[in-house]
Symmetry: C2
Subunit: 255 residues, 2 copies
DNA sequence: ACGTTAATCTCGGTC
DNA sequence: GACCGAGGTTAACGT
């Protein structure tokens, strides 16, 4: 009675090209995650085009067909392919070559495996529960429930109100009955946030008569962005992204 | 005489917590890339906060201190930490726990390894040559050399001209002597590109007398963005991001 | 399929 | 350190 399939399915060290090909063929379309360390050469063509000369790299192939080629630095892969439509392995001139293609956008990544130090097939199982705190969506919910954190007397009329293109984070009315467009940012707000707010305020002004205010609500704002906002008659209000956590919860004992 | 250090340094399958700890301690700060497959629980706190319940995951630890935790889908890790200041492994309640911290922004990722199926230490060597074609920088160079691709009679005065904040991609003069601000996009241009162009044009108009034109040069543009551009008196010119490749080069024989 | 936006965006450059 | 903008951004969501 195998309730939890074994995570480590198969692994080879320093396989020959033939052995590697057989390994890949056996696992490529088996809802399995593959990990390969080796010397590799990568060609990419699609929205752009790139070529990486032979070098030691780490490949990751997930069951959704996504492929990533990692170098020795950084979180970002050197080359990648998100969710492919077609994945194949062939022998070309004595080397295993991986093809990862997708349409829309039409892109192909071609990986030539010159040498393989280790290849492993794993079963990563289902995704486990994941909770994120401090997203803009959470901030939006919290402020919709407690709009006084933005301004006293504010009444929220709508969330994610679609106006022309794009959605207004919070659409509200202030104590004097003026309409208020609120744009939220979970981090430091920059030019882009001010422009976004300005665009929404303009759109609302075209549709409703009377005064319309624009408020940028964020935990911080860049100095230039604040100037631009003020020059455009838009307001900035400081709000915290993460709900205040009681001091006790931060004590190391609870970790 | 070891000119190329061996890529595969060490590997364990199903190590005990003690063996895993020893393995990690031995390799963590040895300019080595570590790969670990196992059941894992992750806490993150910093710009936001997250927790991931125990699940099968794949860890990547690079010599620059970057850490990523991959699930069964997507290019993006479930949790990550780019370039840490401090990395450590300890035994807590019978489980190996990894800490990856950085200041600025102050963030910490804590990975509890409940079970380890495989852990491998690799040497990924130096980065190999990487060439990317079709970046905006390349496009900028190409169009600066051949501005007629944007418009006949255009003379490029400057590239990346700093005006207020941000840089104008191409600053030019047209056949009639009017100043032209060109904003480039390597892909489809959207609202943001139009706003960016508008901002630069406004900044130039404040500094020079006379008519100032704004041209958005991109291989494509969204319909709404085109409308906004036209309404704002800005122009759109279609230019290809990738230099035209001769048909022969695309023939499969050359692959 | 298209358009828009958030993201723990990452990453690099410049002031 | 702050700020800005590119990115093969990715990924999710809505129409």
């Amino acid at each position: 009675m195998l309730r939890c399939p074994p995570m480590l399915i198969d692994s080879l060290t320093h396989p020959t090209p033939d052995a590697l090909l057989a390994f890949l063929r056996a696992h490529l379309h088996a809802r399995v995650t593959l990990h390969l360390a080796g010397e590799v050469e990568v060609l990419y063509a699609g929205r752009a085009a790139s070529m990486a000369e032979a070098g030691d790299r780490l490949l990751l192939l997930k069951p959704d067909g996504s492929l990533q080629v990692h170098g020795p630095r950084g979180v970002k892969p050197v080359n990648w392919q998100p969710r492919t439509d077609h994945l194949s392995a062939e022998l070309e001139g004595g080397c295993v070559v991986l093809h990862a293609e997708r349409r829309s956008p039409a892109e192909v990544v071609r990986v030539r495996v010159i040498g393989c130090a280790q290849v492993t097939a794993l079963h990563l199982g289902d995704e486990a529960l994941f909770l994120l705190q401090g997203s803009e969506a959470q901030m939006q919910r919290a402020l919709a429930r407690a709009p006084h954190l933005i301004e006293d007397g504010l009444t929220v009329l709508d969330r994610e109100l679609l106006v022309g293109v794009g959605g207004i984070d919070l659409y509200a009315r202030d104590a004097q009955g003026r309409y208020v467009v609120v744009e939220l940012k979970r981090g430091k707000a920059g030019h882009d946030a001010v422009h976004q707010l300005g665009r929404y305020v303009d759109a609302v002004r075209e549709q409703v008569p009377g005064n319309v205010r624009g408020i940028l609500a964020a935990p911080d704002i860049t100095v230039p962005a604040l100037k631009v906002a003020q020059a455009a008659g838009l307001e900035y209000v400081k709000v915290e992204a993460l709900p205040q956590v009681p001091e006790e919860a931060l004590q190391p004992t609870l970790f």
